[in-house]
């Protein structure tokens, strides 16, 4: 522990880790111990780190943000407004802790629940997947999450199981000035099919830290639709790492919406580890005031005949700052890869800022890779077109802004959620 560096935030969290009771399972304890070891050798990133050069997280160190504590006082009526019509099965975590009374598990075809409850019955699957994708040697946030690993949403779709109704995993923040560690593990076995909604919400405007890690493993021919909504408090810090590992001919669709938090960072790594895997990665950042939202994605093609299509959009108003860094790696053996990436950004005010960086690293010679990035304001010709049809300037601007975001929102395969988010875009654009 002599290498513990600098910030009070990490030291404070390390202190609280030492007080944790050990669990009986040796592999899980080992995983945590390795992670804590890694926490102690890393620092919080600063703007001097290339991967963090646009995102200054130093405000994090102004408060201690101790680990959150379990709090079972939340009632169903407090969170009912967050429920979605199409959802039958729901896992609810409050400040990172599983809440059995707020959760509903109805589908017997699926294995789902909180990690500790599944440790004895599904030890083999858990041991071979948990913590195996989200690496913590280079990532202090993943290391902390793994060090504090306790509760986690676990969803296992058995072989050839097709689940049509979406599974809602709700991570609700209620406490002030704490750090919570939401965690998800999704295992899609061969030929299975699921839809997951990973939803981060706050019940009040509080300052807190969310440090989330999600791991998704898709076996051959498995399909997953992964919708991720980050609508945290506007004073919150949100750090999240998601890794999806795609086996042969599997299909992963991700739509992520970043709307909340004062400072947020989402890393999405998609690894196409076997032939003919496919992914569609779409994102929308919708921020205003002094929010900062940073999205880093990495799509890694390592085998032939893979497909990836990515569209990321940012809408930034006031003095908000959006960052998008989209890396695409096509490794030497990944011939016949078909990959496209588009980054489109809309600035609604003169003081809003967007930094976008496509980053293509292509080592195979027979591939199709297209990418493009634009940053702009609403187009004067488009506004004129709508006004010439009788719309006021304000409604013309609102409609165009809405349309810009709706293109991504429309890809969410859950109608009620799509409508909620479309309304959120409308509400936000109406303030202009």
């Amino acid at each position: 522990m002599s290498e513990v560096t600098g910030t009070g935030y990490l030291e404070c969290l390390l202190e609280s880790w030492r007080a944790k009771p050990a669990e009986a399972l040796s592999w899980l304890d080992q995983l945590r111990a390795q992670a804590i070891d890694r926490v102690s050798t890393q620092k919080l990133p600063t703007k001097r780190d290339e991967e963090w050069r646009f995102t200054d997280i130093s405000p994090l160190t102004t408060l201690p943000y101790r680990p959150s504590q379990p709090d079972a006082n939340l009632r169903i009526q407090d969170i009912q407004h967050l429920f979605l019509d199409e959802v039958k099965s729901r896992l609810v975590f409050v400040d990172g802790y599983y809440s059995p009374q707020l959760s509903v598990i109805v589908n017997p075809a699926l294995v789902m629940g909180n990690l500790p409850a599944l440790l004895s019955t599904h030890a083999t699957a858990l041991e071979s997947h948990l913590g195996q994708y989200a690496r913590f040697d280079q990532n202090v946030f993943t290391a902390m999450s793994t060090a504090f690993l306790r509760d986690a949403a676990v969803i296992i779709a058995p072989k050839n199981t097709v689940i049509t109704d979406p599974i809602h995993v709700l991570f609700i923040a209620t406490q002030h000035e704490v750090t919570s560690y939401p965690r998800c593990l999704v295992i899609g076995e061969t030929g299975s099919q699921i839809t997951l909604i990973e939803d981060y919400v706050a019940l009040q405007q509080a300052a807190y830290v969310t440090n989330a890690v999600t791991e998704i493993s898709l076996a051959g021919n498995a399909r997953a639709q992964h919708i991720r909504i980050q609508r945290e408090s506007s004073q919150a810090f949100h750090f999240a790492n998601c890794v999806a590992a795609l086996a042969h001919a599997s299909h992963y669709q991700s739509v992520s919406i970043a709307q909340g938090s004062k400072i947020s960072r989402y890393n999405l790594d998609v690894r196409l580890t076997d032939e003919a895997a496919e992914c569609m990665i779409d994102g929308l950042t919708l921020i205003s005031d002094r929010q900062l939202a940073d999205t880093h994605t990495c799509i890694d093609h390592s085998k032939p005949n893979g497909t990836s299509h990515q569209q990321h959009k940012c809408i930034a108003d006031d003095t908000a700052h959006a960052v998008f860094n989209g890396k695409i790696i096509v490794r030497p053996h990944a011939q016949h890869t078909n990959s496209s990436q588009s980054s489109r950004n809309l600035l609604l005010s003169k003081t809003a800022q967007v930094d976008t960086k496509p980053q293509l690293e292509i080592f195979a010679d027979d591939v199709k890779c297209a990418h493009g990035a634009t940053v702009g304001q609403l187009d004067a010709e488009e506004i004129f077109y709508l006004r010439s049809r009788g719309l006021s300037e304000k409604s013309a601007r609102n409609l165009l802004t809405y349309a810009f975001g709706a293109e991504i929102i429309n890809r969410i395969p859950v109608t009620s959620l799509r409508q909620q988010l479309a309304q959120a875009v409308l509400d936000q654009t109406q303030s202009n």
Binding site: A380, F384, R387, R389, G390, L391, Y402, F404, A406, E407
Partner: protein, 264 residues
């Protein structure tokens, strides 16, 4: 059709306009009465599209002199949306694509905005759906047109048909069709022209801005105006367009004084 004693819809006098300090319109006079179809012809750069945009209220152009009355109102004082609500419609040469907004959503929004302004009843999505499908038959448009994003991925012909559909929905007093024929094959041109012909009547008026005579075979104008260097240099009947087609615009340059004298 030319109707005796019909009311004046548009009256343009000595209109001058510039963009970024360059004068494009150098004194336009034009009177359009209800029931009439006017064609404005001219080479690229003659200012005919600029005239269309200035009348619709495009903010990139600065009006430096002249007056425009539309239905008794001072048109130049009105922002574009109020011109539209007052009954002026511009069919764009290059209609704008709006990914993310379904065509039906856009059409209903435009329709209801204009209806509300005219003190008429707005339509809910179901009512509007029936109404718009009826209008779409005019233009032989497929129903999937409604669900697609506004103009996104539309062919040139589909975009122009969508413009005329908006014209049919908004029922303007004056429609200005800016190069509506450009980029259309002959079948699409006939469909578009047929749609326009069914919308025009004795109570409204149309200005066709075009480079070629071809459109005028299908929408027959009452007046043909030829623009050159920001002015209308010649005005005649529909036969003037044919004359232009055979003799070319050079003929105007050589004869404008003389012929203009004859028609004036």
């Amino acid at each position: 059709m030319i109707i005796e004693n019909s009311s004046t819809i548009l009256s343009v006098e000595g209109l001058r306009a510039s963009i970024n300090g360059t004068e494009i319109l150098k004194g336009i006079d034009l009177t359009v009465k209800s029931g009439e179809i006017h064609a404005i012809m001219g080479l690229n750069g003659s200012g005919k599209s600029t005239l269309a945009k200035v009348l619709a209220g495009h903010s990139a152009y600065e009006v430096t002199a002249g007056a425009v009355q539309f239905e008794g109102k001072n048109l130049l004082e009105l922002p574009p949306e109020e011109r539209a609500r007052a009954g002026l419609f511009l069919a764009f040469q290059y209609p704008i694509e709006i990914p993310g907004v379904a065509n039906t959503q856009f059409l209903r929004l435009a329709y209801n905005t204009v209806q509300a302004q005219r003190g008429k009843e707005e339509l809910d999505p179901l009512e509007f759906d029936d109404f718009v499908r009826e209008k779409m038959k005019l233009l032989e448009m497929r129903p999937d047109f409604l669900d697609r994003s506004v103009n996104e991925g539309f062919s040139g012909g589909e975009k122009k048909r969508n413009e005329i559909l908006q014209m049919a929905l908004l029922e303007p007093k004056l429609s200005i069709l800016d190069e509506t024929d450009s980029g259309l094959d002959i079948d699409a041109l006939k469909i578009v022209a047929n749609g326009v012909n069914r919308i025009t009547n004795k109570d409204n008026a149309t200005i066709l801005v075009t480079h070629y005579q071809r459109l005028l075979d299908y929408i027959v104008p009452d007046f043909v105006h030829v623009m050159q260097a920001g002015r209308i240099v010649m005005t005649g009947g529909k036969e003037l367009a044919l004359e232009l087609e055979t003799r070319g615009y050079d003929w105007i340059t050589a004869n404008k004084q003389q012929v203009a004298g004859v028609t004036a």
